[in-house]
């Protein structure tokens, strides 16, 4: 690879370059500002928070001002999916950064913010990858900072247990993914997307083609850990319970973004990118039932288990499992669906889900304090009297999670419904039925939480003043979820644009995408 090609590759990932550069600055500078005993200038976290937000906004500026380019041979691609996921990640990154800002003590603030930025960069690298190796590096760039981020803020047993659990299972999932990649490489002889797609499409993999279903199954299994799909979800409740609210919020969202982005990429590589000539029909037949099964299991188990929880973080963990199930419905439908394609509905849902789940955790961040953390539903009793604004925001988020109007969650679910129903097969219709059933079940536990906030007597969480950054994050999420309901068009267009690019063949035309983008 010559200097020229490196240069052009870097041009494709400028936002990530900005993020990583900031990470370096923070890691280098932070140790000099903290004494050996851990003492530091009080309030230094505000500076780190501002720096982190600044880095994200610079990255966002680059994101908005880079034009999509046709798929190339380099390590990165820049298509509609990248555009969509990158924007989503940066926006949610800013919100998580605000939550983290008010929950992490001064001495660790720099490291935590830096780790968050590294995770964001990792998510973006994953989706921008044009090569299995880069994809894997992106995934690891998400995982490794996550371990540290989970371990850093707290020293309690629970928290350490959570970290270890996450660490071991994450390693395991990475190994599965890697094994799948290796088989894919073995079958096709290349790690480059275009190469794989061409080999598979041309049926050139020959007798090694039996490896493909196994490879895809392993990759789906490995990535299922990220999106907490049942039966790969069991670490989630424990890890959520042992993590501070901002980390739980991050875990409920960013691994899902990265997991679904990677799944879309890999599956479209073997399914949608390729004309189903000959033996590859088999692969399509295999993947779809597999995904449908995952979706059904994930929805059902997530919702039914959430019914029994009293710990809020555990409940939200199961809720995040259930929502992964809804999104898997979108993935199962894929690019079928005459009204709304499954992938577009999935991406849209990713945004609306992110807003509401982060909103819940942002409110929890805002009202819990070190001396009186909000752990169980009983801790929320009386909250509506003492924190009326926070209670209202929490209620909006929970109604949104339950899929009630007027909220982004409603539009998101509606899109998934339409996608599943318009797919035309009985599988799609059954998935829609099961989704409706699950929406009803889920309403029960969200309603229980709302009842705890509004109807239960109690003294409520006692924080007198909500920390401004977390409160701001909560307000942003509340406004956003209502805004997604009223004006969903832009996000939907962005989600649609992606489908076009992913579906066209690797050599296909992205200029139409380019024009639609610049026209906006």
């Amino acid at each position: 690879m010559g200097f020229e090609s490196i240069n052009s590759a870097v041009n494709l990932v400028l936002p990530e370059v900005v993020l990583i550069a900031t990470v370096c600055v923070m890691f280098l500078a932070a140790p000099f500002l903290v004494s050996e005993t851990g003492a530091t200038t009080p309030g230094i976290r505000h500076r780190w928070g501002v720096l982190s937000l600044f880095a994200i906004s610079v990255a966002a500026w680059f994101w908005m001002n880079t034009l999509l380019v046709p798929v190339n041979d380099g390590p990165f691609r820049l298509d509609g999916l990248v555009y969509f996921i990158r924007g989503t990640t940066l926006a949610f990154g800013a919100i998580i950064s605000l939550m983290l800002w008010s929950q992490v003590e001064d001495s660790k603030s720099a490291e935590c913010q830096a780790l968050l930025l590294a995770i964001l960069a990792g998510v973006n690298f994953t989706v921008a990858a044009n090569d299995l190796v880069v994809l894997f590096l992106g995934l690891e760039l998400v995982s490794i900072p996550t371990y540290v981020l989970l371990a850093l803020p707290r020293r309690e047993r629970e928290s350490q247990e959570a970290t270890i659990k996450y660490f071991l299972l994450s390693i395991f999932s990475s190994a599965l993914v890697l094994y799948g990649f290796a088989l894919l490489y073995g079958a096709t002889g290349t790690t480059h997307y275009a190469g794989i797609a061409a080999t598979v499409a041309g049926g050139k993999s020959g007798e090694l083609s039996q490896l493909l279903p196994l490879a895809v199954a392993l990759i789906v299994a490995g990535l299922s850990f990220r999106i907490t799909a049942v039966p790969f979800h069991f670490y989630a409740p424990d890890v959520f319970q042992g993590s501070p609210a901002f980390a739980a919020g991050m875990l409920s969202l960013l691994p899902k973004i990265v997991g679904f982005a990677a799944l879309i990429r890999v599956l479209s590589l073997s399914v949608a990118d390729v004309n189903f000539a000959g033996h590859l029909e088999l692969l399509g037949d295999l993947v779809k039932p597999l995904l449908a099964m995952l979706a059904v299991l994930t929805m059902l188990v997530g919702n039914l288990m959430a019914l029994r929880q009293t710990n809020i973080h555990r409940m939200m963990a199961y809720s995040s499992v259930a929502h992964a199930g809804y999104m898997l419905v979108g993935l199962t439908i894929g690019d079928r669906g005459t009204m709304a394609t499954g992938i577009a509905a999935l991406l849209f849902y990713l945004v609306s889900y992110g807003i509401m789940t982060l909103g819940v955790f942002a409110v929890l961040c805002a009202v819990s304090s070190a001396d009186r953390p909000v752990r169980t539903l009983n801790d929320l009793g009386g909250m509506s009297r003492h924190h009326p604004a926070a209670a209202l925001m929490l209620a909006v988020m929970l109604f949104s999670l339950a899929g009630l109007p007027p909220s982004g969650g409603f539009i998101g679910k509606m899109n998934l419904f339409l996608a599943a129903w318009s797919e035309g097969s009985s599988l799609g219709r059954y998935l829609a039925y099961i989704m409706a059933f699950n929406a009803a079940v889920s309403a029960f536990y969200y309603l229980r939480m709302i009842a705890a906030v509004y109807l239960k007597p109690g003294t409520g969480p006692t924080t007198m003043h909500m920390p401004a950054p977390a409160a701001l994050a909560a307000v942003l999420c509340t406004v956003a979820t209502l805004a997604v309901f009223i004006a969903p068009q832009r996000i939907w267009d962005a989600a649609q644009m992606k489908v076009k690019t992913v579906v066209t063949t690797p050599e296909g035309d992205s200029p139409p995408v380019l024009t639609t983008l610049t026209a906006k």
Partner: protein
């Protein structure tokens, strides 16, 4: 005109927002005055809108569902991408740019009358809560105003999804009203009410999604617009079995909301636990969302299914509801529960008329919706007044109240008469028309239904006789001198009573207001013409080819 429609929804919302902004600084007094002013202004706008609407001198409608004034704004455009490898699937999809959700607000005579009812009842609800809601009163009025906005939104929505959005949304303020200001079992009642209706609505949502997909495949340009759907499916009916499935799934949510037997079990509980204002709004308007949904969506779109499945099914459930609800009401000792069960019976009349599927029946049904809103609303107001004085609603503890509170007694007797359907009062007109419509096609149901009128007189008069006449019987722990109806309470009650008399004496203007729209909906039903009167005494007669 459009401005008025938008204002109708914005005004209660704006009041709610103002209340919320000043909830800390404003005391109970400011909050209730703000709510009162907001609701009175809304009513004024509603009345003006009706007056202006009548000035328009509209003729008969040309489409089954036709908003006479409308405002549309694109909400979300689905533009499915055609992809090369999808082949046959892509060819099915129609020109993508047209598939869109809309903010499609409009009004016709039916929706305007229901909006006026909503606005009127809201004022009564504010006035009756004046003294009784002491805790978090600002929040209470916020809920009430948001509820009003949501209810008006349902009646204004002509986009399928928008309709559903408002339909669902009204659950939220009602949940809080029951849950926060209700009686001793309020948590349980609120959650049961919410989940029960939510499950029904989700089945409705599935039906809506399927309907839209059907419309897209049928080439409807705007598959979410109710008027377009109605016109299309009137001209090109769906296959019969698909119609039946979609009708039933759509009906699920509406049946629970109405509620028809046997899906009524949430209603008595929610009513008993709700604060008076909540009961008034719940019985007065929210139950009507179900029957309005039938009228607006099911009747014009699933014609065959309504005739062949809806008619026998709903009519059967309705008559069971009428008889069963009446007997349940008869055996209640709690006055509020009695009124709640009487709602089940009265809504039975309403649905019976609706599924007569002829102009008389549907007109009667819609009048019955308004009448039930007025008379049951008034009954709940009076029950609330008694509860405020005695802190009990049990007939065992109360008796001979006429000696203590003569004015309330007069009001109670009057409202009971309206509710029973005494000629000259509103209940008579609606029940009469509903039953007449049903009698034309299925006399048996009409006959059984008529027994409901007798039963209604029985339980209502029993309640009045036991509670208000005879020897005085009061709870022992009431020490304050019991006051008769105060001017404020009179202000809450009298408008409803006046409307009861007006509709009873001169129903023609109300019928005229709704007539063109009703006729447009039932125009393509020929049930009444075909069926001989004598032959329809058996249920099997319904399955005509």
């Amino acid at each position: 005109m459009i401005g008025f429609l938008i204002a109708l929804m914005i005004l209660p919302l704006a009041t709610a927002v103002l209340l919320m902004l000043f909830r800390d600084s404003a005391g109970q007094n400011t909050a209730r005055w703000m709510a009162l002013i907001g609701s009175v202004v809304t009513l004024c706008v509603a009345v003006t809108t009706v007056a202006k609407y009548q000035e328009l001198q509209l003729g008969t409608a040309t489409q089954p569902v036709q908003p006479r004034v409308e405002w549309r704004h694109t909400w979300l455009t689905y533009s499915p991408q055609r992809t090369e490898h999808l082949g046959q699937v892509a060819s099915q999809s129609i020109s993508p740019a047209h598939v869109k959700l809309e903010f499609y607000f409009g009004a016709d005579g039916v929706s305007l009358s229901l909006i006026a009812l909503t606005a009127l009842l809201t004022i009564s609800a504010v006035l009756i809560s004046w003294e009784t809601i002491k805790e978090r009163s600002a929040d209470f009025y916020v809920c009430l105003m948001v509820l009003e906005a949501g209810l008006i939104g349902v009646f204004l929505a002509f986009d399928l999804l928008l309709f559903y959005v408002f339909f669902e949304f009204t659950l939220i303020p009602m949940f809080f009203m029951v849950g926060l200001w209700g009686g001793s079992q309020r948590n349980h009642a609120a959650i049961k009410f919410f989940l029960y209706t939510l499950v029904g609505s989700l089945i409705t949502l599935l039906g809506l999604a399927a309907l839209v997909i059907m419309a897209v495949q049928g080439g409807v340009a705007t598959p979410f617009s109710i008027p377009a759907l109605a016109s299309h499916f009137t001209a090109h009916p769906m296959e019969y079995h698909i119609q039946v499935i979609l009708f039933l799934s759509l009906a699920a949510g509406f049946i629970v909301k109405v509620p028809l037997f046997p899906f009524h079990t949430w209603l008595p509980l929610a009513h008993v636990e709700a604060p008076t204002a909540g009961s008034v709004m719940l019985a007065g308007v929210m139950l009507k969302l179900g029957s309005y949904g039938f009228f607006r969506i099911c009747l014009p779109i699933y014609r065959q299914a309504c005739e062949q499945v809806g008619l026998p099914l709903i009519a059967t459930l309705s008559v069971i509801g009428i008889v069963y609800g009446s007997f349940c009401a008869l055996s209640q000792r709690d006055i509020k529960k009695l009124v709640a069960y009487s709602s089940v019976a009265h809504l039975g009349f309403c649905m019976l008329g609706m599924f007569a599927l002829n102009a008389e029946g549907v007109t009667g049904s819609l009048l019955q919706m308004i009448n039930h809103g007025l008379s049951t609303g008034a009954l709940f107001l009076l029950v609330g007044m008694i509860y405020d004085r005695y802190h009990t609603r049990q007939l065992d503890d109360l008796g001979g109240l006429a000696q203590r509170i003569p004015l309330i007694t007069v009001a109670m007797v009057f409202t009971s008469m309206a509710s029973i359907g005494l000629p000259g009062l509103n209940g008579f007109v609606g029940e009469m028309l509903s039953l007449a419509g049903m009698f034309k096609i299925m006399p048996l149901y009409a006959v059984i239904g008529t027994s409901g009128v007798v039963l209604g007189a029985w339980y209502m008069l029993t309640m009045v006789q036991q509670g208000f006449f005879g020897p005085l019987r009061e709870p022992h722990d009431v020490h304050d001198p019991v006051q008769d109806m105060s001017p404020r309470e009179a202000c809450a009650f009298l408008p409803l009573a006046a409307m009861c008399v007006w509709i009873g004496v001169a129903p023609q203007p109300f019928i005229e207001l709704m007539k063109p729209d009703i006729e447009a909906v039932v125009a393509d039903y020929d049930v009444s013409n075909v069926r001989p009167l004598s032959g329809s005494l058996t249920l099997t007669e319904v399955d005509r080819p």
